[in-house]
């Protein structure tokens, strides 16, 4: 059990810097999910914590120990890999118990612990099989058991579920959360699947191009994205974006088309004349008869989601999507009004992409180097 603190952690491969100064405090027992697109440096960050990758600059501490120069085995971390990385020539029991064998745990104790851990992840009947004779989900469990048996202070997961089918993925997700609650180690879980991230995390870390964009609980990140990047990345279907300029007098944002979208008077007052991006979630907009809404758009086509429908509209040369629970039948090309309430509007600075707030908000501060 340990907290992890990262201070201005950087990683370069030769001249290429791929992680640019990450600052992050992870509390003891917390479940952190690092979310980001492919190539943003998530795995690199995780592997620096694990000790599989050297730290180019900065400092990582686990508990009260700075681990920069420690070997992986001395850090008390266990890791679950994307491709499981099981030893193909060892049985399930040998795979699970290998770390104990290396550590010199007496055989009787080892066997007892293997049996207990295997039973806890439902592998009791498979102890004598080889990994090659297991299904993907079972291999995943072996990988988990192998990590659990070491009773690590820190649990690291690198996209452990991405090779499973959708249903099994949800099931294993629950199982991972259950295991986390039971053994109460600090967990860092890397994924590019936002649903996985949202559902598992105590706190989410959204990364982009080697920097942390935002840290917060899933609902904080969904409700108050700190940048256009986070707004667009989190949430499916994705947020709609429109560009415009803030106008104090009408407390609205005026679009290039001349349409106005209302924003809260407080924001408008503080940001008069600012060029902004407006972000609106698809479920926060409603469709109204043409001419009665904030904007007038043209209906294009609809996607059936089962629980609701996703309506695609054209506004000027932009595609806007509206998520609605009711089922309407519209002809392609039909004019539709879109109602955008002021409370649904997220404002971002057009230049920096950062969120514009009425008052400075307590977004998680990045500790300066």
């Amino acid at each position: 059990m340990a907290k992890i603190s990262m201070r201005d952690v950087r990683k370069s491969y030769g001249k290429d810097q791929v992680v640019h100064g990450v600052n992050l405090e992870i509390a003891n027992g917390e479940f952190i999910v690092v979310l980001g697109p492919s190539g943003c440096g998530k795995s690199t960050l995780l592997r620096m914590i694990a000790g599989l990758e050297t730290i180019t600059a900065g400092q990582i501490a686990i508990g009260d120990t700075v681990v920069n120069d420690l070997e992986p085995r001395e850090r008390g971390c266990a890791m679950v890999f994307q491709n499981y990385a099981l030893y193909p020539h060892m049985t399930v029991a040998e795979n699970i118990g290998y770390a104990l064998k290396v550590a010199g745990t007496p055989k009787a104790e080892r066997m007892a612990r293997i049996a207990a851990v295997a039973a806890s992840v439902g592998l009791g009947d498979f102890l004598d099989r080889r990994p090659g004779q297991l299904s993907g989900g079972q291999r995943q469990r072996v990988a988990m058991a192998r990590a659990i048996i070491r009773e690590p202070r820190v649990f690291l997961f690198d996209e452990p579920l991405s090779n499973l089918d959708a249903k099994l993925r949800v099931q294993m997700r629950h199982e991972i959360r259950r295991i986390h609650n039971r053994i109460a180690a600090t967990s860092v879980f890397v994924t590019h699947d936002q649903q996985e991230g949202m559902t598992l995390a105590d706190r989410l870390v959204v990364m982009n191009k080697g920097v942390i964009e935002q840290v917060g609980t899933p609902s904080e990140i969904y409700d108050q994205p700190a940048s256009t990047y986070v707004g667009g990345f989190i949430g499916s279907p994705a947020m709609n974006f429109l560009s415009g300029q803030v106008d104090r007098a009408t407390h609205s944002v005026r679009l290039a088309s001349g349409d106005r979208i209302d924003v809260s008077p407080a924001i408008a007052a503080r940001n008069h004349g600012k060029l902004v991006q407006i972000g609106v979630r698809p479920e926060a907009m409603t469709m109204v008869p043409a001419g009665q809404g904030t904007l007038n758009a043209t209906f294009e086509f609809v996607e059936e989601l089962g629980a609701g429908r996703l309506y695609h509209m054209m506004f000027e040369d932009l595609t806007l999507t509206v998520l609605a629970g009711d089922r309407q039948t519209l002809a392609a090309g039909a004019p539709v009004g879109l109602h955008i309430p002021a409370s649904a509007v997220h404002l971002f600075d057009a230049d920096t992409g950062k969120r514009v707030e009425a008052a400075p908000l307590a977004v998680v501060e990045q500790v300066p180097a």
Binding site: E71, R73, A85, Y87, H89
Partner: protein, 309 residues
């Protein structure tokens, strides 16, 4: 590609059978010759069916050639070559693949280039080294003038000498020092996924532990293949033992000995050629390599069935 048509089935079998016949005929003729008497083996036309002299011929060939000692020698040399080769190849490839050090590729290419220099090509320098394994160092001492310096200072003349002629070491070492095994192992180690290496590191296994617990068990098939090839290669050595061993009675190898039985002007002195003995000896000499291949074959097959990756 698996095609199942009667015509192709027949064609494949015809091809297979003709191949088999081509391979079997010389062996059959050797076997038949080994079962005949001196008169029968030299009578024309050539005899195609075995006689009843096999045992007598075997015994005679074995005694004339003193094969007891020769077999033991060859077995010692071939086994040592196999063990030495596998050990050397395995740890060299391990260093080349799993450690990042300066000049790694340079070293690999230098090893690789020696693939193009089989023992026969470099036999003269190798012989020079075998005659005095320390001669390269002696040369260095002399060329750099260190020897002169030592002599001037202390009055001692340094002459390094370590003669490998007429010894097992001399027979074995040059056969061990080739690149084939290293190359084979390197290619295999390169197929080991990085994650497996990392999983072992996370489990706390150091490099040697990883080599022993993971790489070696995984490369069993490779070991079997290399062992077979190297055993047969070492068993069949002719030129090198011929050069390096003058004390045949104690260090002779079977193939060199076998060549002495093959009748020519020298051995028979114009008498009737003793092909029946030569062939009987050939049969005996062939047996150990065949036994090794058959025994090792089980490992190849098991290796193929148990691929879990």
């Amino acid at each position: 590609m698996i095609e199942r048509t009667p015509f192709l089935n027949i064609a494949t079998h015809v091809i297979l059978l003709s191949g088999l016949v081509i391979i079997i005929i010389p062996i059959w003729l050797a076997f038949v010759a080994a079962t005949l008497t001196l008169q029968e083996v030299n009578s024309a036309p050539i005899e195609l069916w075995p006689g009843n002299q096999l045992w007598a011929n075997l015994v005679e060939a074995w005694t004339i050639s003193d094969f007891g000692t020769k077999f033991l020698n060859t077995l010692i040399v071939a086994t040592s070559v196999v063990v030495g080769k596998i050990t050397l190849a395995c740890i060299t490839a391990f260093a080349l693949v799993f450690f990042n050090f300066r000049g790694r590729m340079l070293i690999f290419w230098m090893i690789f280039i020696t693939l193009m220099l089989p023992l026969e090509v470099r036999i003269v320098p190798t012989y020079a080294v075998a005659a005095n394994a320390l001669s390269p160092f002696q040369t260095i001492l002399e060329v750099t003038g260190i020897n002169w310096l030592i002599n001037a200072v202390s009055g001692i003349e340094v002459a390094l000498e370590w003669n490998l002629l007429n010894s097992y070491t001399g027979l074995i070492l040059p056969l061990v020092a080739t690149a084939t095994g290293t190359f084979l192992y390197r290619q295999f180690f390169l197929t080991i996924p990085d994650e497996l290496v990392e999983a072992a590191r996370m489990d706390g296994a150091g490099p040697l532990r990883f080599l022993w617990d993971v790489l070696i068990p995984l490369s069993k098939t490779n070991i079997a293949a290399l062992a077979t090839i190297m055993f047969v290669y070492a068993w069949n050595q002719y030129l090198w033992p011929l050069l390096v061993i003058t004390d045949r009675a104690n260090y002779g190898m079977v193939v060199v000995q076998l060549s002495d039985l093959v009748p020519d002007q020298l051995t028979t002195g114009g008498g009737t050629p003793t092909w029946h003995l030569a062939m009987a000896a050939t049969l005996v000499v062939m047996l150990p390599p065949i036994a090794v291949v058959i025994f090792m074959q089980r490992w190849f097959v098991r290796g193929l069935i148990n691929t879990d990756k």
